[in-house]
């Protein structure tokens, strides 16, 4: 056991020097400025008090620096996970109650334990079942729901709703109560942030600011909006004119909290915790990998699970909420020059200082400002071109994406993900259950075989060669039987059927029984069954089966051999009966893992 694998901090801490310290400190300052409004906003999105967002941005970052493998990932509250948190714990208790807060801690703990366990058990591959179209559709739909859920804060009205339709209807019904000062603040911040995102960087560059600082300044726009709107609200007493503000936030370091261990609550939150874990992990690991590759570094997905898991456990014991690696923040961290996870630990110190000293200042921070921050941030999650691209590339991927979006918007986040995963699995299985196969014939003057329906090729009424373009397993075993038997029924003079297996990576027990059935049925009708181009690992298994004994035909090295020999044009030296294989005849070179067994080589 290599301690550096399980404690990645040991990889970089011993060699930590002054130059790295400088880079990390600078990145930490910039990320802290960006994280303060984000952590407040995402806590609000999750229906939690603002300080919870700050707390979730302290201990988890320190823990991630110890256990995480990405050098630049910025852990903390993120939009989609906050939305999922709200959806999950909203079913447990009403917002503002101690039960609601407690459920957030339990959710973070469960998600942390699940992630850690998945990492230790090397179950990171589970995240693979969230296909790209499903995750992309889910994030787009989440972005729309989050934006819709924040509009009420920009308008200064009361409205509820758990899905897009309810949210929009709720807003429509409350348009009469719009609070003008709130709307003014909300729209100004929206316009400012949108403009900053759109034009600030190029404007700064035109003013002579170098590219990277200009970028950093642009990313600091939200903190400017926070500062200005807080000042204005305080100066003009707008909170007394109906502008909702954050209010008194306790100053101080994160409290020590003990998540509950009520088994009822745990089982209620189980599915939500699992989905939050997987979605958070997928998001985080793809950011981490993208950034690591830019510097030719590697991250270890299984250790990442441990890193994110322990971060969430830390969040649950320090008054936090579920966290993961955030996309925008990580990019900023990377661009600002962070070189090691120490940058994250320094960010934690920055946020801790903010929690100690700055909280009195944000009492007058308008909720509308935070809502506008969220809206501008999440609208970039809505990825319409991805939908169009998926439609163009693959209808079945598009179907999974559309199902995810529709169910997420209409029913909810958990159902949306599950519908997408279910449909993409079902479509994948459906596709492999009816694999592409082709009857092939010899291209004249060559040793190559092509689809008889697409090319002018030689065929022989006594012999049919069927190429199967898929591994043979239970879902398509019967389809293979049907295809072969239909072929035999169609060609009455047939004496030989060859299955060309170059694309067959596996033959499972069901497919083996189908091959046995095919062999027996073909035998009853006087047709021999041959195999050609069977891969090494597949042949290794077949050799010890009854099928191999009972097979009426032979195993040919190449399709060309299978074309010649049964028709009496070859001496048969390049084929073997299975029985011979089992008698110990060595066939090392003909039947191995090579890509192209080819007569020339032997």
């Amino acid at each position: 056991m290599n301690p550096k694998r399980y404690l990645p901090i040991l990889q970089w801490l011993p060699g930590y020097g002054r130059a790295t310290l400088g880079s990390d400190l600078l990145a930490a300052v910039i990320v802290t400025i960006m994280l303060i409004p984000q952590s407040l906003a995402y806590a609000m999105l999750a229906g939690l008090p603002p300080e919870v967002g700050l707390y979730a941005s302290i201990a988890p970052l320190v823990v991630y620096a110890v256990f995480g493998t990405s050098r630049t990932l910025s852990v903390g509250p993120v939009a989609v996970v906050s939305l999922m948190t709200a959806a999950a714990i909203g079913q447990i208790a009403p917002q503002g109650t101690p039960e609601y807060l407690g459920a957030a801690l339990v959710l973070a703990l469960m998600s942390g334990l699940m992630l850690t366990l998945m990492g230790v058990a090397r179950l990171g591959f589970l995240a693979n079942f969230l296909s790209h179209p499903v995750i992309s559709g889910f994030i787009t739909a989440s972005g729309l729901i989050i934006a819709a859920s924040q509009l009420k804060h920009v308008l200064g009205v009361e409205a509820g709703g758990h899905n897009l339709l309810e949210l929009l209807l709720g807003l429509a019904g409350s348009l009469g109560q719009v609070n003008a000062p709130t709307l003014a603040i909300g729209l100004s911040v929206l316009a400012f942030l949108y403009a900053a995102r759109r034009w600030l960087k190029s404007a700064l560059v035109r003013l002579g600011v170098p590219g990277r600082p200009a970028d950093m300044l642009t990313k600091a726009a939200p903190i400017l909006a926070v500062a200005v709107t807080t000042l204005v609200t305080w100066r003009y007493g707008l909170d007394e004119r109906g502008v909702a503000v954050v209010g008194a936030v306790p100053a101080g370091l994160p409290p020590l909290t003990l998540p509950g261990v009520d088994s009822g609550l745990w089982s209620q939150l189980f599915v939500a915790a699992l989905l939050i874990s997987i979605v958070g992990f997928v998001e985080s690991v793809s950011v981490g990998q993208t950034l690591a590759a830019k510097r030719r570094q590697r991250i270890d997905p299984d250790q990442e699970l441990v890193g994110l898991g322990t971060s969430n456990i830390a969040a649950s014991f320090t008054g936090g909420m579920p966290v993961t690696g955030g996309f925008a923040r990580s990019v900023v961290n990377f661009d600002a020059g962070a070189e090691t996870p120490a940058a994250g630990a320094f960010t934690a110190v920055g946020i801790a200082v903010a929690a100690l000293l700055l909280t009195p200042l944000i009492a007058y921070l308008p909720i509308a400002t935070l809502a506008a921050t969220i809206i501008v941030a999440v609208l970039s999650l809505v990825d319409i071109p991805a939908i169009r691209r998926t439609w163009a590339y693959s209808r079945s991927d598009f179907a999974a994406m559309l199902a995810t979006i529709a169910v997420t918007l209409v029913v909810g986040v958990e159902s949306g993900i599950m519908a997408g995963v279910g449909l993409s699995l079902a479509l994948h299985l459906y596709r492999t259950s009816r694999p592409h196969s082709a009857v092939v014939g010899l291209v004249p003057g060559s040793e190559h075989f092509r689809n008889v329906e697409r090319h002018t090729v030689e065929t022989d009424p006594r012999l049919a060669i069927l190429r199967v373009d898929e591994s043979l397993y239970f879902a398509n075993a019967r389809y293979l039987e049907d295809t072969v038997m239909a072929l035999a029924a169609r060609q009455p003079g047939l004496a030989h059927i060859v299955l060309a297996c170059q694309a067959v990576n596996v033959i499972d027990a069901s497919a083996l029984e189908s091959l046995e059935a095919i062999n027996a049925r073909l035998k009853d009708s006087g047709v021999a069954l041959h195999l050609a181009e069977v891969k090494g690992p597949v042949m290794d298994r077949l050799q010890h089966t009854e099928f191999c004994h009972e097979m009426t035909g032979k195993v040919f090295l190449s399709t060309f051999d299978a074309w010649q020999e049964p028709r009496g044009e070859s001496d048969g030296s390049l084929s073997r009966r299975c029985a011979e294989l089992q008698m110990g005849a060595t066939l090392d070179s003909p039947i191995d893992d090579s890509t192209h067994p080819h007569p020339r080589m032997h």
Copy 2:
């Protein structure tokens, strides 16, 4: 629309002649003799009155003759489906109540509608997800449970239980109340049937009876046991000495029944009906295919669904129970010379005559006789060699089989099937999520590439060729990223990575995004990504993607080209940049659906 396809009776009825009639009549007589005790016994197994078994062997057979495509399948009650019926409706109402009978009708109707709908919607492929090891394990476990559930009748005791353990414990606890005459009858019948199965045929052959009639006589042993034990029980008044008998059975044709349409009941029975449909269909279609192939006939699985579906609907309206094609009976029907489904219709007439005239005679038929008939029949379902074979062939198939057996025995039939299907899908997905891949090198003096770890091959520190032995889809997309990036990280001098795609049958949208990510990350680290041997249908799709534009490398016809050109040993005429492909450069012959794109051919 071809009426012969949807009404298969039109295929054989017009040409029906006297010779065929003779063969079919003979087969019908033999099957009737076999079916009478079976239908009584399987009705009892399902917890239903004996006449229900007879009723289920009349109308369904006639309807199957119209809609079914197998010439020799014998439809009616079968052991496994009867067990599943008992398990399903046992949860609705206690045996002997009108609700229990009604639930059996509803189950038959639901199963009939499901099968018919699946047939019309061509959803027969759904049955493929029941893998051979799962169905084999399920049938073995069912055989054990059925045998255990019938032991109490042989012993003449009262005992209950829903799984093997409960059944055996129940029996153990009631051994004190064994009824001696019942046990005598039960053991005699068991011994007689076992002996008949084992030795009767060869004895008859030795006595000069030809093989086929000897076989038929052997199959008639149960009716002999029924006749003899009924006579003995009646003659010696054994029913008054504690021998449980069938009792009064109403004489007459099947009643017209109307299955209930209570939505609560329907939703309670939904899963059971679906599983019964699929298990029944899988059993039936495999018998049908095996027999059809022996005479070079074909059955149409989708039309078979309609045939079995309408048979079950007919059962539900004529006082029956769920039915399907029985293995042993169909083989007897085939061997007895049945040539068309008319044999089934004649069998129905035979059973109808029995229902009209013979029912008074079976009042004294001991339950122990029927139980012994069932036990001998189902023990042949227990297939231990299949378990051993599966273990030897594939550990993952064995795991699915074992899970099915264990859960079926310990929990129940429905859970058993679902556990098996779930596990086999999960294992399949797990396997394809970590596909076999190999870094390959050039076999000296050839154009062939093999695994560098297994063979002495040429490699180049600047170029790595990775062969992926699986279609690329969401479950393995990230694994591909990891594999490629690990390869790049391992070989610092690398300038080119080639993915050899001859075993890649599909690249879905997730895998495409992974390829984009790989391309971008490799670009960041100064490595070009090339593809080789991309199949036609896969390339068709890739051509219109952004990835194709952004790809840093080229698409090579063959791995050998990919080996030569980046290293400056070729003129590049056999590769194309994706951009060129999209500009309209025709590449018909290099990139098509052929198995072996090869330079020689162009």
